[in-house]
């Protein structure tokens, strides 16, 4: 993890800088106001970005402190996120996009504590079609899953996941994805499915949750985010790519 920090710092600094420059333009504000329906609440006008905020002064990336994940757990998730979302010319890596921060915050909050999860017993092994039956809340489920995964990875490769090189991490995750990694108690496939879901959430959700830094994933696919008023565009952009600087909830809050 420590070795990766300089690279991570550089990439996020660059992404944040790009965002600062482009959002300084007046994109979308006028027509968004025009397109709002009568009686509908309108988004507050965006505060103009300070004119004196050149890319070079973008704040340096500082890793977020973890709320519930231990250093070892965060390192595991970071290594997995970087294999699931590898850095390339399309986007920075999963951890550089804030996926570890996202997962830490989700697991530290209501979701991690098992909100909106039926947790009454008795508990049983899942039957075909019944879904996850684990008595554990998501934080405990991830904790147990990471421990089991690291035990298996260490037994197989001699090191924990974050100590492996890139191709080995991918190979280990593929074994879990296929359910071929032998975990005690928690199946490797259910664990990997849960991990994959959380990594994707962290990559694609609104950046206010700590992931998708600089809206890297939205830029990658061309998703404009908010304000999403297209009544005047659905016909004019038929077959034409609608290009827009993406905007997040934070840009309107």
């Amino acid at each position: 993890m420590t070795e990766a920090l300089p690279r991570r710092r550089f990439l996020i600094g660059a992404a944040a800088g790009t965002a600062a420059v482009t959002t300084a333009g007046a994109f979308a504000a006028p027509d968004q106001a025009l397109a709002a329906p009568e009686g509908a609440p309108q988004a507050a006008p965006r505060a103009p970005a300070p004119a004196t905020a050149p890319a070079a002064s973008a704040p340096e990336y500082v890793p977020e402190p973890m709320q519930v994940l231990t250093a070892a757990e965060a390192a595991f998730i970071g290594a997995a996120a970087d294999a699931i979302i590898p850095a390339d010319d399309l986007s920075p890596s999963g951890s550089d996009c804030g996926v570890v921060t996202y997962i830490d915050r989700q697991l530290a909050g209501a979701y991690g504590a098992g909100a909106r999860l039926y947790r009454s017993g008795p508990f049983s092994t899942p039957q075909p079609g019944t879904g996850n039956q684990s008595p554990l809340a998501p934080l405990e489920f991830f904790r147990a899953g990471i421990a089991a995964a690291n035990t298996w990875v260490k037994a197989t490769y001699g090191k924990e996941l974050d100590g492996l090189d890139g191709p080995q991490v991918a190979e280990a995750l593929k074994a879990m994805d296929a359910g071929k990694a032998e975990f005690a108690a928690i199946g490797s496939k259910p664990f990997f499915n849960a991990l994959l879901q959380m990594v994707m959430e962290g990559f694609f959700s609104d950046p206010m949750y700590g992931g998708n830094r600089g809206m890297a994933s939205w830029r990658m696919i061309g998703y404009p985010g908010l304000p999403a008023t297209y009544a005047d565009k659905i016909e004019t952009y038929r077959g034409k790519r609608y290009e827009a600087e993406p905007q997040s909830i934070a840009d309107f809050s």
């Binding site: 329906p37 079609g129 991918a170 994707m200 959700s205 998703y223 908010l226 999403a228 565009k233 790519r241």
Partner: protein
Amino acid sequence: MVKKLKEVDAVLVGMGWTGSIMARELSRAGLSVVALERGASRVPGDDFTLPNIRDELRFSVRQELMQDPAQETVTFRHSADKTALPMRRFGAFLPGDGVGGMGTHWNAQTYRFLPSDHTLRSHLTERYGRKKIPDDMLIADWGVTYDELEGHYDRFEKLCGLSGKAGNIRGKIHPGGNPYEGWRSAEYPNKPLKPSLAGVMFGEAASGLGYHPFPAPAGNMSAPYVNPEGVRLGACQYCGHCERFGCEANAKSSPNTTLLPVLAKEAKVEIRDRCYASRLVYDKSGRKVTAVVYVDLRTGEEIEQPAGIVVLSAWVFGNTHMMLHSGIGRPYDPRTGKGVVGRNYCHQIQSAVGVFFQDKELNPFMGAGSLGMVIDDFNGDNFDHRDLDFLGGGYIALNSTNGRPILNRPVPPGTPRWGSEWKQATAQWYRRAASMNCQGSNYASRGNYLDLDPTYRDVLGRPLIRMTYNLTDNDRKMSAFLTEKGAGIAKAMGATHIAANPRKGDFDVVPYQSSHNTGGTPMGTDPSTSAVNRYLQSWDAHNLFVLGASVFPQNAGYNPTGAVGALSYWAADAVVNKYLKNPTHLMKA
């Protein structure tokens, strides 16, 4: 100790579409109405506002507006010989919660069922003979015909301000509409939405194959609209945040945008939110329900609300649960085939056909809940089943409803789920993919039913509803047929890749399929096979009326809300114009 309140004329359990319609009609007739809603109050201008209403994680993934399974869920098993386990999270379907119910956060795809769907057993018997219907297929006539319901369908559509194009006005076929639909007394109140490129392409391909495409009937306003209640709706902004979200533009029909503003001003209507009905007080000898017992979730107090008329206007599971838990009507037993409550439970046999276009920019984030083009050529009995080994069918539609990227970023078949290759494909195809929906019917089967779970309990200490359900051979064959037709349209559209996924194997509660659950308190004219009569009046309690898709004897190949709305007006008409004059059983058992 239960605190007993003063009697009111009517008490409703659940305040979604059906409760809102009934509350309006009863108050119009001068009755005092108390509506109990276990969830929160939801007022669009306060609760659905930019920017946060566009939060995919909060509303779509974490399902904030839906029923909380920690409070109440459903147990599930494939067949009666297995042990059911609880759905610890909702997946295959998402029950609603809160004032406005599912109507707050639906897509607003609003169809009329076919005339033959309302008289299904008679229709199929007449056309193909009795032997065509398998013995264990419990399909039935509704007991009310399409002709009797037409005016009520029309009323619901005008309440909603539906955008669409009629195909059949009083028997005259109109080009551009659905030629298979039952007759309409009028054109849609709003013109169709502006189709997306994917919808245009679907329409052209379907026409080229000789099918009859028409714009999906939409409760998304193509233009501002004032409904017959005097409530104003805004114009749809094609934002792609309908299903699972509230609408900040008041542009989607919902109880909150069409009726609740009127009910809020009605002195005789009181909506008690956060009040969780637990059981009905049933006088078996008098064959009447005397009161509803509920828990006020703010105080924890248990309260009994007596009423002259009791209306179950909860969802499919809620209505069936309340009947079973209160001991009203004989529970269905799949071994003997006897009993009526819990019978005819159905879901929807949907399948998807993903279409990918190398050279088309589809801008998938521009959409609306019901923005789509549809064909009905393979729905219901619109096509000849004589030489086919299944009954039923469904519509095939291409809907541009959302491009929200946590849950919607299709990649061609064979692409890995993660890693460089996945990323490359996601970046390449996100804007160039669309999905076709084959909305298959689900015909009731003897082994599919609801009852009370012997083990698991909800937050009020009541047994959970137990769902015993699986796909049947008929379902799988129907889905294979329908999905193949969809793939044929995809091919005609010139898709670079096609991902056709007919339904196979066993039912799985994890992946989302549709929240079109039906049955459990089926309607009919024979008390040995139906829980409520043709007026939705309980055979076992004449002052109890049960509304919603729980009364469907089977599910058609359509989204159910249009039929739910029409039936609500039909039942309200029976209460106001028949029952109030002579409060007794409206049909002889």
